[in-house]
Assembly symmetry: C2
Homo-oligomer: 711 residues x 2
């Protein structure tokens, strides 16, 4: 017999959630994507890859590392076509979408196309660049590059790399060599089984003198046979937390000779005679780093939106316990605590999304301005200042946005209960793939400290009366330090709140630093000693900065119901973060304890308010079922049916039990006589006595060791 | 040529870190393990499994799910031997160690031995229990059980389960049936390929009347052939985030008949005629839940200690950047920010460890007291009160300790930079395996709310003048609400600080609740509406409770250098958590802003202090290299050599490139003529125009949809 089922089906429930939204979902989606064109392009890309066999996603959870690697390589040819036919803008948007569908491929392709080509763009002379273009770098026909920077014992500290490139004047060659194990090139994406060439970072040595780290294009494999060239040792570094579609490898060079002309000479030049010409000015690398960080801010938003699309839809259809007299169980999303778990994260993802859009625009505007500006332009200095400021803020943004996204993925997983732990929910894969974003292109903690270092300088500048650029301009107004709330909890009040606490925590870090300097510490020592305060300064500033970007976007968004919902989401983001970081607001007196209680009430009220539009809101993230790739987040709400179908498809029952005869039957047919009397533990005390005696000696010295099985 | 290497090797560095610790490592280890016997037993178990082929760990990162499943099953026979010959105490300690070496096995074995047997112990009459013992439940010879509780659409809400057990009076049988997809038993560990029987939770129906959920032992497979019995459908639910050694499955029953005697009848009884006798009193389930939670608190500590052993040893040997004039690069552990990243987590792991020890002891004492107490004993009420209080605190402890451990694993991973992302670091596997602890045996958020609910009641009791039991006794003293720091930052001051803020946040939740009740809400509505405040109350109370347990352990630990280091670690834990939760201390005025600044300074100073003994401190966690299973955490410091050797062993170069001919050669040999002119994007605008037109209609209604690839 079946129970009567008075409750609506999951599909009916989701349809009801969409019944009458107070805003137009598509119009909101356009705002979130920056333009209708960007949204249309994304929809086009989604439609294309949903039908492309290499982009099949439903089976990826059960592929082996080897299968994933091969599947990932299958995508190369289709993308090479687009990369050679599309504009940078269109291809950039395409890759942004691809990064959500397959982060492994995005990276593996990005290594060859972004990092290797980027190294050439940034480091090669025009002649060298043409040479490599002719060799086929652009279309990957002839050269597939990888980027051989990090070593086993050196990651971030590029200047400390130990691979050597020694000039041999006789043959006009550099000899690339790995002097010891720690100098093995490590983590090199594409090295294990894709690349023919590498941009190798190595210490240049001429006549026994070290000239610092330079880049040498070094061929790894024969392009016809794919055999390793003499002196090249390459291995696969194997299984990772995620992104197993990338063939990260290690490379060891044993006296490998490359022509002098393969050293990239845009900056430092080496003549036929071995004379070194250093560049007059240190190169400006802001641009390249900033572009990478901007991408990661955007990626943090889109990935978080993907996780939240799953968690919100699931919370809308999942019912648990009936409250009061209701026959029908309550939707998870109707529990205040469940709203608290998810809705602020939605607000955060939206906030970071707008930050990404504006950061991208700022970056494009600044580089365009710099490209076209005359060196005598009176605005040049200001534009450079702004670039510099945006660059250092972007370090903090990269850190806190990637952390926020990683945290969101796991909170979404937990919010789906046990099913979130199933690989098919897609949370485990998303978490594993995304986790590296907190580490690469600069460990998040270190980047935060860099951002904090700039804030300390900015404070010093402000004290000297220098007018600061937009992002930190609030430091020019000393009265912000002692500002108080007007109790309105309006967007303006919230903005002032963030400026107030940011100014205070920046001042705290700066004062620690300057006082340490006064005590005779070196600059580096002082910076290290105030690192905790620098970290806090960066954290608080970045959160306030994100709020500010979101608020500006809302203010520029015109009137209408879409703007109204964004305004509430923006307010929720600002107030929720105030609640999270309440200590600073109380410490610096912007809010009183009573006002903080009001903030908590307002956050709960906004959560309940945004909950009413939560499903259409995540619909506006515009992610197809194929991209979301989780039955729990199906657009139509057919959660259990889709989940069951996927589990069945991925796990056919084997015809023969793989180990019944070997392992289970002997257990089941074991005779009782074999068992001893439970609890007798014959001999245990003697054994332990021996152990104890052995240990007694060791325990006498201070180094009293614990017993290890190797002994 | 090799560079001169003035720096000490990683092995030398670690030896120097151990050179002259101010305490005896073994004596400290004994304190951390509760007794010398417990430590010796652990060392014995570690020695045994390090040599046992089924417990090989170095290769697990590269095993497929199928291989892991089989490897896990191989461990059964050795453990069955121990479970039938060792005392509960010794076997319990053995399993605690095993859970660190192989969480999958621990769970898979625990399902058969703990959950299934536990269901019999808790639910069977003495006669029924003997019957199943005779069948071979204890030695798994004859019966291998699984625990079929959760369903696809019902997790925590046991009362809402939808599998039916309908009494057939004619045949004296129950008919077990799965009425619809959502009622499919789901996540059932051991069901997919191990179990012969299941303890099935189903709605008992007699004469059309529902009698609630009862347990029915149902045979799933023939014990000779391992074929599924008629009416049983079982499938594998496949890949999970972690613990893939467990064969979780789904089960659907299609009118499966079991004898009436297979319903467990210790509580509810059903007669031959179908008459139902309900138990007079609701059963006391505190004990069983409390035991599980205590285990998870301990597991949170041991797992965090494992992660920290890796991270601390690696931070000691990893060098990066040279500060000042040093030739030798600085050890990561010497950077103040790196100390900040790891040392407080060490303190937390130690704090949770002592909490686990004391909780276990309390639990044992209480159950022993209840077992031996006469019903007329005047202390019975107090003991029951304490059990009840410990039970509800344990809900919060389970939540915040498992969260803390999961967070610790990922922070340790990040602290190791890129290498933490390698599977061989063991962090990815540890994270994936541990993550489920935040979900099973009660979702952490829900458990926190349960703990918060008890705190609200406790506040109500305190207001009525009732004397509360130890854990919440501080609520009896109203003056604690307005206490102020004596500025000493002593352990006593810290303890009062936690009592003060805990009392205040508990009062806040309680007052919200009582005011909602006054406004006419039902009890459930009021509890839901104050859930955020209940959550905060639980969080703050639990942290203070852990601190209190640690402090008590330190106070009872006697004099000596080991106690001295524990005292500092305890202080660090308390102050660091105050810094983390500073908002509450400022809000309720226990500390002034200036005192909070002093807390920050004290935390940094304690981090620097504990850093000097960090390596011997983690040595006292007494984890063998085999258990730690990470080259980054090798006891002897041979980090890079071990890592390289493991990567090489796990990733032999294939003789033939798996896809060069199919995928890479065509790329490399592609002709340039095939390429179009980059940037022309012929036809793109037309395509987008079509898209846009299609969308225009949809955008008119409020449900303006985004384009989905399915359309």
């Amino acid at each position: 017999m079946a129970f009567p089922r008075p409750k609506p089906t999951t599909m009916e429930t989701l349809a009801m959630e969409r019944a009458d939204p107070p805003f137009n979902v598509r119009k909101l989606a356009i705002k979130m994507h920056g333009s209708e064109r960007a949204l249309l392009l994304k929809e086009k890309f989604m439609a294309e890859i949903a039908r492309h066999p290499a982009f099949k996603l439903s089976d990826i959870h059960d592929l082996s590392k080897e299968e994933l690697r091969e599947r990932t390589m299958e995508k190369f040819s289709s993308m090479v076509y687009f990369v050679t036919t599309e504009s940078l803008e269109v291809f950039g948007l395409r890759m942004q979408l691809i990064s959500m569908a397959d982060p492994s491929f995005w990276t593996r392709f990005g290594v060859a196309y972004g990092l290797f080509l980027g190294a050439l763009r940034g480091g090669a002379t025009p002649n060298q660049f043409s040479y490599w273009i002719d060799k086929g770098v652009l279309g990957l026909n002839g050269v597939i590059g990888c980027f051989a920077m990090t070593e086993l014992a050196h990651g971030s500290n590029v200047a400390g790399l130990e691979t050597t490139a020694t000039f041999d004047r006789e043959t006009d060659e550099f000899i690339i060599h790995t002097p010891h194990l720690g100098a093995t090139k490590w983590w090199i994406g594409g090295a294990a089984s894709t690349a023919t060439h590498a941009a190798v970072f190595a210490q240049m040595i001429i006549d026994g003198k070290k000239h610092g780290v330079k880049t040498f294009v070094t061929q790894l494999r024969d392009t016809k046979t794919f055999q390793l060239l003499p002196g090249i040792t390459i291995g696969d570094i194997g299984k990772k937390m995620g992104r197993d579609g990338i063939d990260n490898g290690y490379i060891q060079f044993t006296y490998v000779r490359v022509p002098r002309a393969h050293m990239l000479m845009k900056h430092t030049q080496v003549s036929r005679e071995g004379a070194v010409t250093e560049p007059l000015l240190a190169q400006l690398t802001y641009g390249a780093l900033l572009a990478g960080r901007t991408t990661m801010v955007t990626d943090s938003s889109t990935t978080a939106k993907k996780a939240l699309t799953i968690a919100i839809r699931y919370a809308a259809v999942r019912r648990q316990f009936s409250t009061g007299k209701n026959e029908v169980e309550t939707q998870l999303l109707d529990y205040p605590i469940h709203q608290r778990r998810l809705i602020p994260l939605v607000a955060q993802a939206v906030a970071i999304g707008f930050t990404g859009l504006r950061l991208t625009k700022m970056y494009e505007d600044m580089t365009q301005a710099l490209d076209t500006m005359d060196p005598s332009d009176p605005n040049l200095g200001a534009t450079l200042d702004k670039l510099k400021e945006t660059h250092s803020t972007s370090a903090g943004l990269k850190a806190f946005c990637t952390w926020a996204c990683l945290d969101t993925i796991d909170k979404c997983r937990q919010s789906c209960g046990g099913h979130g732990y199933s690989a098919y929910s897609n949370f485990p894969g998303m978490y594993a793939d995304f986790a590296v974003q907190c580490t690469w292109e600069g460990d998040n903690t270190i980047l935060s400290l860099q951002a904090g270092r700039s804030l300390v300088s900015a404070w010093g500048d402000a004290m000297k009366g220098k007018k600061l650029v937009s992002g930190v301009a609030f430091l020019n107004d000393r009265s912000i330090l002692t500002a108080k709330s007007d109790s309105s909890l309006s967007l303006t009040d919230i903005q002032r709140a963030w400026h107030c606490v940011a100014a205070n925590v920046i001042r705290k870090a700066a004062e620690e630093y300057f006082s340490l300097m006064k005590d005779g510490k070196t600059k580096e020592e002082a910076m290290e000693a105030c690192s905790q305060s620098r970290f806090v300064a960066a954290k608080v500033h970045v959160i306030g900065y994100i709020f500010g970007m979101f608020r500006e976007a809302v203010e520029e968004s015109g009137k209408g119901p879409e703007t109204e919902v964004l305004e509430r989401v923006c307010k929720l983001y600002g107030l929720w973060q105030i609640e999270e970081q309440q200590g600073y607001f109380l410490k610096y007196g912007y809010y009183t304890p009573e006002q903080i209680d009001k903030v908590q009430i307002a956050v709960s009220a906004l959560c309940a308010d945004v909950r009413t539009v939560a499903v259409p809101l995540v619909d506006s993230f515009a992610l197809s079922d194929h991209i979301v790739n989780s039955p729990l987040g199906k657009y139509d709400g057919s959660v259990y049916e889709s989940y069951f179908a996927q589990v069945q498809a991925a796990n056919p029952t084997p015809k023969v039990h793989p180990y019944f005869e070997r392992l289970i039957r002997p257990l089941l047919e074991r005779q009782n006589e074999e068992m001893q009397d439970p609890g007798s533990e014959m001999g245990l005390d003697e054994e332990l006595g021996e152990f104890a005696a052995e240990r007694k000696e060791a325990a006498k010295g201070k180094l009293g060791k614990v017993r290890r099985e190797e002994e």
